[in-house]
């Protein structure tokens, strides 16, 4: 320590410096979280101005509701598809970008552009690209795959379109991180592979993916959270939970109960369930990956 430095030993001063952050965290994070937990034990009327303690009634109601349980199942399926899809496509795109030598910047911009769009804009764009009657892709999909595109009324099509939109939106984010991880692979390892005559895709699977594993673990967690929470805007714009509840994911059901049916107590209970589900999943992912990821 230098001669002119004095140890800062004022505890009060330290708390004063922390105060702005503490205020913001308490006001916008801890207090709302605790209120949500509290609300979940109440039946509420008039935007929560009149409340009645009901204990676990909200939870029992939800867990015995066929609509809600279907929504939970749909959400888990949706998350699985979006996480696997966005990681797989992202990895393929990132690897191609890593390998290409000409026009790299242009491809990179193209790849991350969807991520730069606000979700609402992305949803609107997708809505018109794949619109059942005026969408520019609709004709080709019908011609090549022999399906009649009608995702405004056919449940699985609505689900598929929202899942594709969510994957498409997330690819850019994944590509940025994956490309950074790939660029961290020492050049001499690439050269060792070249000299060993390891073909490209085998190199990806046996060398790059293991070396990228810390980044991939991070992305699995982030994409899981995204799939559970981030798809709200897409659903609200494209399907409003329909057709026939086929895209009624937990986050959308929660929104409807809270702001369309003004049932804050029930919505709070759903928040708690959603939080526990995602936190539990994240915990399991980190635990499992500890064993496999190569740090």
């Amino acid at each position: 320590m230098g001669v002119h430095e004095n140890t800062f030993d004022s505890t009060l001063g330290a708390y004063l410096l922390l105060l702005p952050t503490l205020v913001a965290i308490v006001a916008f994070l801890y207090y709302p979280s605790l209120q949500t937990l509290r609300f979940s034990f109440f039946q509420t009327f008039l935007f929560g101005q009149n409340t009645r303690f009901v204990g676990l009634a909200n939870f029992t109601e939800l867990l015995s509701s066929q609509v809600y349980l279907t929504s939970v199942g749909l959400t888990i399926a949706f998350a699985a598809i979006v996480v696997v899809g966005s990681l797989a496509v992202g990895l393929a795109v990132a690897f191609l970008l890593y390998e290409v030598s000409d026009g790299k910047a242009a491809y990179l911009i193209a790849a991350i552009w969807p991520y730069a769009l606000p979700t609402a804009v992305a949803g609107t764009v997708l809505l018109f690209l794949a619109h059942p009657s005026v969408g520019i892709y609709t004709h080709y999909i019908e011609a090549w795959f022999g399906v009649e595109v009608d995702w405004f009324t056919v449940g699985w099509q609505g689900f598929a379109v929202v899942a594709i939109a969510a994957i498409w939106k997330q690819i850019g984010y994944n590509v940025i991180f994956m490309l950074a991880a790939l660029n961290n692979v020492p050049e001499s390892l690439n050269e060792a592979c070249e000299l060993d005559g390891i073909e490209t895709w085998r190199r990806l699977v046996r060398v790059y993916i293991p070396l990228m594993s810390p980044t991939l673990v991070f992305l699995v967690v982030i994409n899981t959270i995204y799939a559970f929470f981030g798809s709200f805007a897409l659903i609200d714009l494209m399907t409003q939970g329909g057709p026939t509840n086929a895209t009624n994911l937990m986050i959308y059901q929660l929104y409807r109960d809270a702001f369309q049916f003004n049932n804050l107590g029930l919505a709070s209970a759903q928040s708690v369930i959603l939080f526990v589900l995602v936190a539990g999943l994240t915990f399991v992912q980190l635990r499992v990956s500890d064993r496999y990821a190569h740090y």
């Binding site: 060792a192 000299l195 060993d196």
Partner: protein, 383 residues
């Protein structure tokens, strides 16, 4: 035959010419060391041979087969990198077998046999199930060499493989590499910036500077009869003293003089020297070939003394030129002393001022040998 031949190899990166017309011939079974200062193009030359870079001009042949456009994996070369380049997530065994099991048609038994054999040669049998992070630098380098061994390639390419090791381990590994080559007799091209490594390991040593090969010769010849001023100054520790002087002729006697200093050349003086009487030349004499002598022709004022144990390396100025002299250990020499020195007349070298090319070595036998060698190995010289 499994030698390597490069023909007029040129590599340019934008406007930088890294390799400038290299003709190199590594003979079958030979251990050839490519040595030079940082940025001289030696690593680029090696990478051109490996196929990791493609030449701007010229050709590469391995085992008499033109491989200029062949991909690295198909050249049947194995490379050992300075950074080892081990796959960090694989065990030592997996590192060694990865290339074999994926790119070749060996059966599992053959692969296991090869690994066992290489592990025995390198004494790493107990380390095979560890990952690189659990190995020391020397052990990692052994595994990296093992990876090259199991492939049983036509040619080994080594890019400063010992540079990341500490001094003691480097000396040990150097001896092991020499032993390994004696045992396997695989054609090897070894790149280093360390001239001691070059001299101790190489059957022959190629000295490179500014993208060009200066001289290719056995280590002793390189030391005794450097073909250029650069080689003279680069080889040896420390390198040769060089000083610009004038050839003076008085009857039969020929001297090189600068300022108040005069070095006589031994008789008979060849025509190549006498014909240059009155011209400027560069005189070269090694620190080991200078010694103290009363009323010697050279006076050196001492500026630095470096006791090396087996000798006392003394630096000083002769006239305006800085020179080094290797004196017997425990010589009574202090900074500021003026030493009277003489040069061994059988160990003098003269270089052209402009081109730096040697045109005279006072020891006749090495001179003729050097000419032979140069004629054989460097058909084209740009210097």
């Amino acid at each position: 035959m499994t030698g390597i031949t490069t023909t007029d190899l040129v590599k340019r990166f934008d406007d930088v010419t890294a390799v400038d017309g290299v003709d190199l011939n590594v003979r079958e079974g030979e251990f050839l060391v490519l040595v030079g200062p940082s940025g001289c193009g030696k690593s680029t030359t090696l990478r051109l041979l490996a196929g990791l870079e493609s030449p701007t001009e010229g050709a590469v042949a391995i085992a008499d087969e033109d491989v200029t456009t062949t991909s690295p994996g198909e050249r049947d070369v194995a490379m050992v990198f300075q950074s080892y380049a081990l796959y960090p997530h694989m065990t030592a065994r997996e590192n060694m077998t990865f290339g074999l099991t994926t790119a070749t048609q060996f059966t599992d038994d053959e692969v296991n046999d090869r690994v066992a054999e290489a592990a025995e040669i390198l004494d790493i049998e107990d380390l095979l199930d560890r990952t690189p992070s659990a190995l020391s630098g020397g052990e990692q380098q052994r595994v990296a060499i093992g990876r090259a061994l199991v492939r049983d390639p036509e040619v080994f390419l080594m890019d400063e493989p010992l540079s990341n090791l500490d001094a003691k381990l480097r000396v040990q590994m150097r001896a092991e590499l020499a032993e390994l080559h004696a045992q396997l007799q695989t054609t090897t091209l070894y790149v280093t910036h360390d001239q001691v490594e070059a001299m101790t390991l190489g059957d022959r040593v190629a000295v490179m500077n500014d993208g060009e090969i200066q001289q290719v010769a056995p280590p002793q010849l390189l030391y005794d009869a450097p073909a250029t001023r650069f080689v003279a100054e680069f080889i040896g520790s420390p390198g040769m003293n060089t000083v610009e002087g004038t050839i003076k002729r008085r009857g039969d006697a020929v001297h090189v003089t600068w300022e108040q200093n005069t070095v006589p050349l031994p008789r008979p003086v060849p025509e190549a020297v006498t014909s240059r009487a009155g011209e400027s030349v560069v005189l070269g004499v090694r620190p080991e070939d200078l010694s103290q002598e009363k009323r010697g022709p050279l006076n050196m004022e001492v500026t630095v003394t470096e006791p090396l144990g087996d000798s006392l390396l003394t630096r000083g100025v002769v006239g305006a030129t800085e020179m080094e002299v290797s004196l017997p250990p425990r010589s009574a020499v202090n900074v500021g002393d003026v030493l009277s020195l003489t040069a061994d007349p059988q160990r003098l070298h003269l270089f052209d001022v402009e081109t730096g090319a040697a045109f005279y070595h006072s020891a006749d036998d090495v001179a003729s040998e050097a000419t032979d060698q140069t004629a054989r190995d460097a058909p084209r010289s740009r210097t």
